[in-house]
Amino acid sequence: MSMLAIDKGGPSRKVKYGSMSRDRTWALRWSYFFLVLFAAFSLIPPIYMLITSLKSSAEISAATNPWWVFHPTLSNYFELLTSNQFLRFFWNSAIVSIVVVIVTMLISIPAAFALARMKFWGSATLATGVFLTYLIPDSLLFIPLFKMLAVIQDFTGIALLNRWYVLLLIYPTLTVPFCTWIMIGYFASIPKELDEAAIIDGASWLQTLMRIFIPVALPGLIAATIFAFTVSWAQFLYPLVFTTSVDQFVLPVGITTTLIKGDVFNWGQIMTGALLGAAPPLIIYAFLMDYYIAGLTAGATKG
């Protein structure tokens, strides 16, 4: 985003006389330097993945230049995209992530609205508490969560462990606190008079939320959606713990468990799977980013 903003301002800014513009030019040069550095740093791994995914296993294990493809092939892509197993992982991931995003929004938005606007006893403490739960790492939580679900499964007889849908219960523990926190921030930035105007206009709390707050805080909503989707899509530890059968796996676990057999790494397919797996978040970013920025600037003008 910051790259975008500077790109737009950059070319039109011609050198002017005076120390202010000289300072500015230098600041711009430095920012370009670090941005290029940063871009290279973060782009090299995916480029390496792309190169490797286009190679056959023989070429990967041959001691040739790893940064060049001598005999490009799409066989890795073909094999993965025709493999029922891989498509199953993809499907599981998609369902889990989409449902988790929906569940997260259904919980976070009303929660954030209540915490930001309905000043009830303990609301401030509760808001901080919501955020604190996010700070507890999942590596600490997975064992107690597992025990908890096991007890529930024994008690109710509902199969939860080793089922992909258990992730629908688990992931929101990661996404809801953070999304609620983001939304509290966005809702708090909406002027108080706006909901007062709505209340006087005859809107109920729910109508104020649906017809004023959600449209006005749409950039925040999109940020939260992107976050929730990314977290669910990339989550590794929980699905590794809670699912054990191949047909219940989501993409990150599926790729690493089925494409690494013993000490044999099927690098070509691993890289292909990872690239294909990175595609959906990338597409969502690309689509929502424009809207996100447009929304940001629209919200910036005074209510």
């Binding site: 008079e193 007062e196 105007a197 209340i199 006087i200 206009d201 003008t301």
Partner: protein
């Protein structure tokens, strides 16, 4: 449309008493302005009428019904906020019709009302724009339009012009007055600007420290202030307060300002103030327009004195002159051709027919 009544209304936040027992009767069609310095409780009072703040004690009645526990949407009021509070994602028309749409009015009636209000406020061309495409003045018109289409019992304005520049403020002030003359809805208007209060109000309520200092028409407040606070708050430049005492001089009652300056009071004033103890510490309240240059032919009750001016401020149609009377700064208004100069001596005339006498300790106008 309806009358509004406040009975011993109190608002307390924890330890702070923001509003300390207010009684106010606002009749139907009336334009009432609550005015006072910041923190005087005027906005809180307005918000209590709106139902946006709970009241700690007392009763608020709209149209004869006690509305203490009635939610804002059922009070049939409309409010215009200082920062407009337009819904940024809706067009002007959608903003204005939001309340009506929530109440499921027929589409045709909504359209008719919005069109009528837009015509009244001269914003017909802006009807499809979003708030961010409007200037401050246009936004404020839309905010008023949103209030008008609802056709409520009471309009509430919370410092609606404070965000506008000075020129636009004067223009919108006139617009608001015109709109009120047309729709005649009972209006409660909050401002800290006494000029706005004077120009708009049928009656002005001057508030200070959570209490009502005085209620009256603009002229009453100007000419017959009840307290030092009102006397000093209404009018610009503010009224001068000069320490003084009464003394008897040869069967007449004099008012002594300094060792040098003492005036005989006009007969009507002398009769009124004669009962006061001569030892009491008093303040002479005199407005700058009653401190002018001296003429050859002075009316009865107008006395002259000589002073040396500190500073003069030429305003065009008048010149403000500042001087000191034993350390008390005093302001007068003289004719621009009277020859007032910084640091120059000048003979001034004080019109004692328009004087006020205040008790220095209590601030009461005697």
């Amino acid at each position: 449309m309806a009358d509004v009544a406040l009975r011993k209304v109190v608002k307390r936040y924890d330890d702070v008493e923001a509003v300390r027992g207010i009684d106010l009767d606002i009749s139907d069609h009336e334009f009432i302005v609550l005015v006072g310095p910041s923190g005087c409780g005027k906005s809180t009072t307005l918000r209590m009428i709106a139902g946006l703040e709970d009241i700690t004690d007392g009763d608020i009645m709209i149209g004869g019904d006690v509305v203490n526990d009635v939610p804002p949407k059922d009070r049939d009021i409309a409010m215009v906020f200082q920062n407009y509070a337009l819904y940024p994602h809706m067009t002007v028309a959608e903003n204005m019709s939001f309340g009506l749409r929530l109440k499921h009015y027929p589409k045709a009636e909504i359209k008719a009302r919005v069109t009528e209000a837009a015509r009244l406020l001269d914003i017909t061309d802006l009807i499809d724009r979003k708030p961010k495409q409007l200037s401050g003045g246009q936004r404020q018109r839309v905010a008023m339009g949103r209030a008008i289409v609802r056709n409520p019992k009471v309009f509430l304005f919370d410092e609606p012009l404070s965000n506008l520049d000075a020129k636009l403020r004067v223009q919108m002030r006139i617009e608001i007055k015109k709109v009120h003359q047309k729709v005649r809805t009972t209006t409660v208007y909050v401002t800290h600007d006494q000029v706005e209060a004077m120009t708009l109000a049928d009656r002005v309520v001057v508030m200070n420290k959570g209490r009502i200092e005085q209620i009256g028409t603009p002229n009453e407040l100007y000419h017959k202030p009840a307290t030092r606070f009102v006397a000093g708050f209404i009018g610009s430049p503010a009224m001068n307060f000069i320490p003084c005492r009464l003394e008897d001089a040869g069967g007449k009652l004099n008012i002594r300002l300094t060792d040098r300056i003492s005036f005989p009071l006009p007969p009507a004033r002398a009769a009124r103030y004669n009962v006061l103890p001569r030892t009491e510490k008093l303040l002479l309240g005199i407005r700058p327009e009653h401190l002018t240059e001296s003429h050859a032919h002075l009316e009865p009750g107008v006395e002259t004195f000589d002073t040396v001016l500190d500073v003069t401020e030429p305003m065009g149609m008048e010149t403000l002159v500042y001087f000191g009377l034993e350390g008390t700064p005093v302001c007068g208004r003289v004719d621009p051709n009277a020859g007032a100069k910084d640091g120059a001596p000048m003979r001034l005339a004080v019109d004692l027919n328009n004087m006020h006498l205040l008790n220095e300790a209590t601030g009461a106008v005697l």
